[in-house]
Structure formats: structure tokens, C-alpha cells
Amino acid sequence: MATIQPIAENEQHPDVALVERVRAGDVSAYDELVRKYDRQVFRIAQHITQNREDAEDVMQDAFLKAYEKLDQFQGNSKFYTWLVRIAVNESLMRLRKRRTGKMVSIDEDVATDDGSVPRDLADWAPDPEQNYTQSELQKILEKTIKGLPPGFRVVFELRDVQGLSTEDTAEALGLSVPAVKSRLLRARLQLRERLSRYFKRKSTRSAANSTASDGRKG
């Protein structure tokens, strides 16, 4: 998959040129920015809200808000990092609405020892994903990541799936670098632990079948 490509420090990011064109009145340049990042923004919104309708609204609102606020965008930060911050805030607002005003924060208490120390130490089958169909695997991966706190899910998505640096992830989420590192380690270990149930040697098909049917109910 395409990850967010790093750009050398002294090189102007192509997004900056697009932002400048938008500021000069060229709406088609914004079209390019939307097409470049819509999928990533949608996934972040899904990870936080866990709701398809909300994720659609968040994606739309985040791009509209970014357009409105484009004058506030400082060229010294990356456009995508800035956009993610808007999308995360929009996602949290949606969650608050759903939870009828209950405080929700990406920085909410995620202190947990559970899963930090690996317990399931059985080795995995070689190419374990081959034991499942594409849709079974999709359900396993979704169900597994849903079990993590939102702050872990989004750090894992930005760092490991989309390929952002630790510093950019910290900036996008308004977290410190050590907080991102600590969440990433715990997210990775917890996901590994949970996936072991499906992927370890001698794994049974029945586990996948039960997950597949759980997924259909949801």
C-alpha cells in the first residue's frame, strides 16, 4: 500500500505548492489534496469512531474545516499532519455526541498492563494469513484492533500502517514523543498477543468461523 512518503528537510513538500494554489483561488488544487488523503482520513475516523456513518461525516467535515482554516496552516508543519489533527478532533467530537457528552480524549487514561507482557509465546504458522479467506482475515484484523483503546489504534494506524514518523504522529495527535512510543509498543504487543489466537501453529478453523459469524452480527 502507499504510505506517506518522507520528504527531505530542505525540499519543499508538494502539498505546500498545492496549498499555495488553493490560497490563490485554485479550487482544483484542493481537489488534488482531497483525493490524495481521503482514504487515510477515512480510516483514522473509522479507527476512532468505530462507526461508518460517523466516519463519512468526519471525513467530509474535516476537509471542509481544513479548507476554511487554510489561512491558519503554517507552511512549517506538514499539511497531512495538520489535516490529521483536524480529523482526530472531529472524530472525538462525534464520539462525544454518541456518548452523550461524556468526555472523550485521545489522551484519555490508557494505563493498562494488560497485554504489555507477552503471554502467548507459541510461534505462528508460516504465512498464517494463508489459513483464512480474505474476508475471514479482514474480520479477524478488524475485531482484533477494535479491542484496543482508541488512542492505541490511531497511533498504530499512523505509525505502522500509514508510515508517519514518531514526531509527526506526536504532532498530529497532540501527544509527546515518549507517549507515542509507549502507546505504539503496547499497541504492537497487544495486537500480536490477540492475533496469536488465530495465527499460532495448529490454529483451528473453528476460531475463524466464530469470528466470521461475530462479524456478521456486528
Binding site: D31, Y67, P128, Q138, L141, V161
Partner: protein, 77 residues
């Protein structure tokens, strides 16, 4: 080196896979099956999530949202 000390450096090993692993880490890995399994399966976890995208947007939804965004932007939001 204990397993706890090894695990504390797990992220560095995963993120800096291009650089040679420190000798004390290599030594621990050579003698500890548990940490070797943890390192390998954690790497595999990341690779699986990277290669199987969750929450893909169908192109119909993408087009609809895109049109709505651009219509509003053209009006100045």
C-alpha cells in the same frame, strides 16, 4: 540481559531494522526462544496490518463525499 530489558527495546529493533542489531540483543535472541518469537510475530503483525487495508472506501462513497466537499468549497464553504 533480561526479557523485560529486551522487550523495552523491541520498538527500536523493529523501527531500525536497517541497522545492525546490538551484540547484547543478538546474544539474548540466540538464547531466548520466547523473545525471538515475540520479535518475529510482532514484525509479522505489523506487516499483516500494512498489507491488508481495513476500512477501504468504496469508490461510490468516495465520489459522493468528494463531490459534496468540492461543491461546498466552490461556494466558499
Amino acid at each position: 540481559m533480561t526479557c523485560t530489558e529486551f522487550l523495552a527495546l523491541l520498538d527500536d529493533m523493529i523501527d531500525d531494522s536497517a541497522t545492525a542489531m546490538r551484540a547484547d540483543l543478538q546474544e539474548h535472541l540466540r538464547t531466548c526462544d520466547h523473545c525471538e518469537v515475540t520479535l518475529n510475530t510482532t514484525r509479522k503483525t505489523i506487516q499483516i496490518y500494512r498489507s491488508h487495508q481495513l476500512y477501504e472506501m468504496p469508490s461510490s462513497l468516495r465520489d459522493r463525499l468528494h463531490a459534496a466537499i468540492m461543491a461546498r468549497c466552490k461556494k466558499g464553504c
